[in-house]
């Protein structure tokens, strides 16, 4: 099966920031969560995929097609929800349908109306009268009504309350039930990604520092909590990142079972994606 998205060696530099050699693969039927702190390069990566900005180097293919040469073809099969609602305040939800119907070959007006009903969005109300949650649901309905095979979502759940987020996440899970479908989603809300993502790619300062199956990452990575003296006895190559505090130290290890075999006296705990991200982002080299 063709991968939904393939990035290899993606580079893009601005004045004080550079995306460096980003590799990423999103298989069909999966959700890939792109995580990272503000300014880590998540949005830049998504903009490069969508060809909204020019990349300095690397290759990108979407649904098996070159993202620049065959842009209009693959975009017919992709739904996009970015971090804000782009529909003008003076438009109504029904207008959005009228605008997008000639844009997409497979636009399904009945499906769009069904999504508006499902999300309880009044078709006659102006966009400016919608709450942020309603605007994001409208964007999602617009992204789904042409039956895309791939959804690209940049901070699509940011600023939404947990109930609306949960509703939208359920929609994503329903979408990938079809093995031909896939989702690339960037988010700060790691708990959301922990709930729905199959794969995680963590960007830190423009580089991929962690990438793989979510279950595998959660199963393998571990945190060692110990004293400074105990930490000094551990060989640096067995530790990914270290945080030294006034009352003790903690370290991130890539394989907690292997670490436990090597250092049976040290306790190694499983940790959440958010904790991995914090240790990766705020910790230092061992």
């Amino acid at each position: 099966m063709t991968n939904s998205i393939e990035l290899s060696g993606l580079c893009k530099s601005y004045g004080g920031f550079a995306l460096q050699d980003v590799d990423l693969t999103l298989p069909g039927g999966a959700i890939l969560g792109l995580i990272g702190e503000n300014g880590a390069g998540k949005t830049t990566t998504i903009k490069c995929i969508l060809n909204l900005i020019r990349r300095d180097g690397g290759e990108i293919s979407v649904l098996g097609r070159d993202n620049r040469k065959e842009e209009r073809l693959w975009k017919q099969e992709v739904g996009v929800v970015l971090d804000e609602c782009f529909f003008h305040d003076t438009l109504r939800a029904s207008d959005v349908g009228r605008i997008l119907a000639p844009v997409y070959r497979n636009w399904d007006p009945a499906l769009f109306r069904a999504y508006l009903d499902k999300f309880a969005l009044p078709g006659g109300k102006l966009v400016k009268e919608y709450s942020r949650g309603m605007k994001m649901k409208l964007s999602l309905a617009a992204a789904l009504a042409h039956r895309p095979r791939l959804l690209i979502l940049d901070e699509a759940t940011a600023g939404l309350d947990p109930v609306v987020r949960d509703e939208i996440l359920d929609e994503f899970l329903g979408f990938v039930c079809d093995e031909d479908h896939a989702i690339l989603i960037s988010s700060h809300i790691i708990t959301d990604l922990e709930k729905v993502a199959d794969y995680i790619t963590y960007l830190h300062q423009g580089r991929v520092v962690l990438s793989g199956s979510k279950d595998d990452i959660l199963d393998r990575y571990g945190r060692v909590a110990c004293t400074a003296a105990q930490l000094a006895a551990v060989r640096p190559e067995h530790l990914l990142r270290v945080r030294r505090g006034q009352f003790g130290c903690e370290a991130l290890v890539a394989d907690r079972r292997a670490f436990h075999r090597l250092y049976p006296d040290l306790a190694v705990d499983p940790l959440s994606l958010e904790e991995i991200m914090l240790l990766m982002g705020r910790g230092n080299e061992a």
């Binding site: 909204l52 842009e71 975009k75 003008h88 003076t90 605008i99 000639p102 997409y104």
Partner: protein, 211 residues
């Protein structure tokens, strides 16, 4: 492309309605003899040509270009849609102006030829506006391009008036009316010829833009 033109019409429909009211008011004033009907043609062209600039402003406010560039339309189509919208607006203003001029000439006895030339000159200014202002909007953004709107509209008027007062147009008086009308009809063809260059320039500005 239809979707993008549709979007402009839907976003600007409220503004269009208020412009129709303005048009009706001007028509009433022209009917009362407060000014010749050619003034209505000019006002119509100027007022309706505010619409494309407003479309740029609304797009900027909602960051529409970023979304549109993520759609399967391509940046050249985005530009082409805006040009077609602008040309459509300029043409609509000319057609309505023409209809009003003909009706007024019929009922009030105003010279048909003169009114016709006024409509055609206004259309020429409208097309000149598209030539200059659209690339400026893509390059500078609508707010920084807005002052140029007044330059584009009033420069041809100032030039024509200047030529008139300097006597440069005296030679035209010697020409028979049918020749004058034919010359007037040729006026919009000059800026129309520039549309392609203007469109290519706008495309290159938008293609280089990082959204």
């Amino acid at each position: 492309m239809t979707g993008l033109i549709w979007k402009d019409l839907l976003v600007l429909r409220k503004q269009l309605k208020s412009y129709l009211i303005i048009l009706a008011l001007y028509l009433v004033m022209a009917a009362l003899g407060l000014f010749p009907i050619s003034v209505v043609s000019a006002v119509l062209e100027i007022v309706l040509l505010m619409l494309p600039l407003s479309a740029f402003s609304y797009d900027e406010m909602s960051h529409w270009d970023r979304y549109a560039a993520a759609l399967p339309v391509g940046r050249r189509t985005m530009v082409a849609a805006r040009y077609l919208f602008t040309l459509g607006v300029a043409l609509l203003a000319a057609v309505v102006g023409l209809a009003c001029s003909l009706l007024f000439s019929l009922f009030s006895g105003e010279p048909v030829g003169e009114n016709l030339v006024a409509v055609v000159v206004c259309l020429g200014i409208g097309l000149f506006y598209a030539d200059i202002l659209l690339p400026l909007c893509y390059k500078l953004g609508p707010e920084r391009a807005r002052p140029w709107l007044y330059v584009v509209i009033f420069l041809p008027i100032v030039l024509i008036l200047g030529a008139y007062y300097l006597g440069a147009l005296d030679a035209l008086d010697a020409l028979p009316d049918p020749v004058l009308v034919a010359l007037g009809i040729l006026i919009p063809l000059l800026p129309l010829a520039g549309i392609w260059v203007s469109y290519r320039l706008s495309c290159s500005f938008l293609e280089r833009k990082e959204l």
